[in-house]
């Protein structure tokens, strides 16, 4: 049998050599590829190094943070970087190199410098942002007009995430009773597969882009906060050029991811995303209410003004009509008076004329009468010359029969007694004979 040693001997030898060689702690730059905290509070990691410009791993080591150290380092790191220690992160850690005969090579982490991680993260982000800027796409989604009514929403989330449940609850049970339509496009929201999965969801949404007002990318809940996928160039390039405005609420407190930079609108959490959507809509609801109110008030005011105007006009009309009637009445009265006066004047004139005629007539009849009287007097005088008494006195006689004047022989017959009147008396005789004489 050749000289040989046992595995334990060898491992113990390695352990002793290493302890001698690496008696001091070393500051080490590496990338975290695994990071798990166990039940007793120790943190187990896997540190790797990738070849420059490639994903090929060229070095790898296990590392441990003992619970007594981890309980201080963890909050310190998270407070400083705003993220949890997680796979994909570049770290600067102070380690002691250890070797255990049973468990092998292991690095025990004593301390961590968070500024290195922050720097690495922000350098990576800045590189992506610079690239997107030089591509000319960085602001494209931001330049899309955020919809007046972000009502029809395509949600990209993990269906089981607590953040998704909170978001949906907050959105659909909003205080205003506003209606939202949501369609979930499930995607993996962390880890290596997230980028491809989210791009896949965006592709599916684009097939029916006209049905949506906006895309909401939310992520929340769960212990780990691996947001590195939201800094990936491909995803951010895709999102920047997306035709629908994107609202991101990917749940982080401190740094913003590149997705937040390119998204049309970015908020911190899914709940904040729901609040933002509700408040966008509520703003419109408020505008609607205020316009309704304005319409009411203005209409009332105008109606009141029209009513007032109507009243003024009707009053004016009434007054006008009354004035006109009054004017017409006055006119009629005046005309009446005029007519009456004229009639009176005419009557007076006629009366005068009649009087004149009358007096004329009177005068004329009187003179006529006087003339006649005069004539009659003359006649009377003339006639007096012809009276029987005068005639008898002149020598004429009158024959009477029974007291009546006899004018014809025919009235008398033989034997008839007649009386003859003369100037100085009467002769009674009886007729012997009559004889008719014709002239």
């Amino acid at each position: 049998m050749m000289d040989s040693i046992t595995l334990l001997d060898l491992n113990l030898m390695v352990r002793n050599r290493l302890r001698k060689e690496f008696s001091d702690t070393i500051w080490l730059r590496a990338e975290v590829s695994e990071c798990k905290e166990n039940y007793s509070g120790h943190c187990y990691m896997e540190l790797i190094q990738k070849r420059d410009g490639s994903d090929a791993i060229c070095a790898k080591a296990r590392a441990t943070v003992w619970a007594n150290v981890w309980s201080g380092l963890k909050p310190f790191f998270e407070k400083q970087t705003g993220t949890q220690l997680q796979p994909g992160q570049k770290v600067l850690v102070e380690v002691s190199v250890e070797f255990h005969e049973l468990y092998g090579y292991n690095l025990v982490i004593r301390n961590i410098d968070p500024t290195y991680t922050m720097g690495a993260l922000s350098i990576r982000r800045l590189e992506v942002i610079r690239q997107l800027t030089s591509d000319g796409v960085i602001d494209l989604n931001k330049e899309l007009v955020w919809p007046l009514l972000p009502q029809r929403l395509a949600i990209i989330s993990s269906p089981t995430a607590a953040g998704f449940g909170d978001f949906m609850d907050q959105l659909h049970h909003n205080d205003y009773g506003l209606v939202f339509y949501t369609a979930l496009f499930p995607a993996i929201m962390q880890g290596e597969d997230a980028e491809g999965s989210i791009i896949g969801a965006l592709n599916r949404i684009q097939d029916s882009a006209v049905d949506f007002d906006a895309v909401v990318i939310i992520r929340g809940g769960g212990a780990t906060a691996d947001l590195s996928c939201f800094d990936r160039y491909d995803l951010c390039f895709y999102c920047a050029q997306y035709p629908l405005p994107i609202l991101s609420g990917i749940g982080h407190d401190r740094d913003s991811s590149v997705l937040d930079r390119v998204a049309n609108t970015s908020v911190k959490t899914p709940t904040a995303a729901a609040e933002y959507l509700v408040s966008s809509m509520a703003q419109e609801a408020f505008r609607l209410d205020s316009n309704s109110e304005k319409l009411n008030v203005t209409t009332q005011r105008l109606l009141e003004a029209y009513k007032q105007q109507l009243k003024v006009n009707s009053d004016r009309l009434r007054l006008n009509v009354r004035e006109r009637i009054h004017g017409a009445e006055l006119m009629v009265e005046r005309r009446e008076t005029e007519i009456r006066n004229q009639v009176n004047r005419l009557i007076l004139k006629k009366n005068q004329w009649v009087e004149m005629q009358y007096s004329n007539l009177l005068y004329r009849s009187k003179s006529n009468l006087d003339q006649r009287k005069h004539k009659t007097e003359i006649l009377e005088k003339t006639l007096a010359g012809f009276s029987p008494d005068i005639l008898i006195k002149r020598g004429f006689s009158l024959t009477l029969h029974n007291g009546k004047i006899v004018k014809s022989v025919l009235d008398l017959s033989q034997g008839t007694e007649i009386c003859t009147r003369l100037r100085d008396g009467l002769i009674y005789s009886t007729i012997d004979k009559t004889e008719i004489q014709n002239d």
Partner: protein
């Protein structure tokens, strides 16, 4: 009002134009009542859009989910 392609934005703009002309008070009574009627209808339609689920859109979304 036609049912096809109701645009909330256009409706709201029209409402605000009507309001502006009402506030300027350069309308006669007949125009006013027509405009008020129109604005009321538009506001009603806008309100409906905000507060009442549209079955047609709902149906589209049901399909999208599948």
């Amino acid at each position: 009002m036609t049912e096809k392609k109701f645009s909330y934005n256009a409706a709201m703009q029209e409402v605000e134009e009507i309001l502006a002309s009402l506030e300027k008070n350069n309308l006669d009574v007949d125009d006013m009542s027509l405009k008020v009627k129109r604005a009321t209808e538009l506001l009603q339609a806008c309100k409906q859009k905000l507060y009442q689920a549209d079955a047609e859109i709902q149906a589209v979304f049901e399909n999208v989910k599948i």
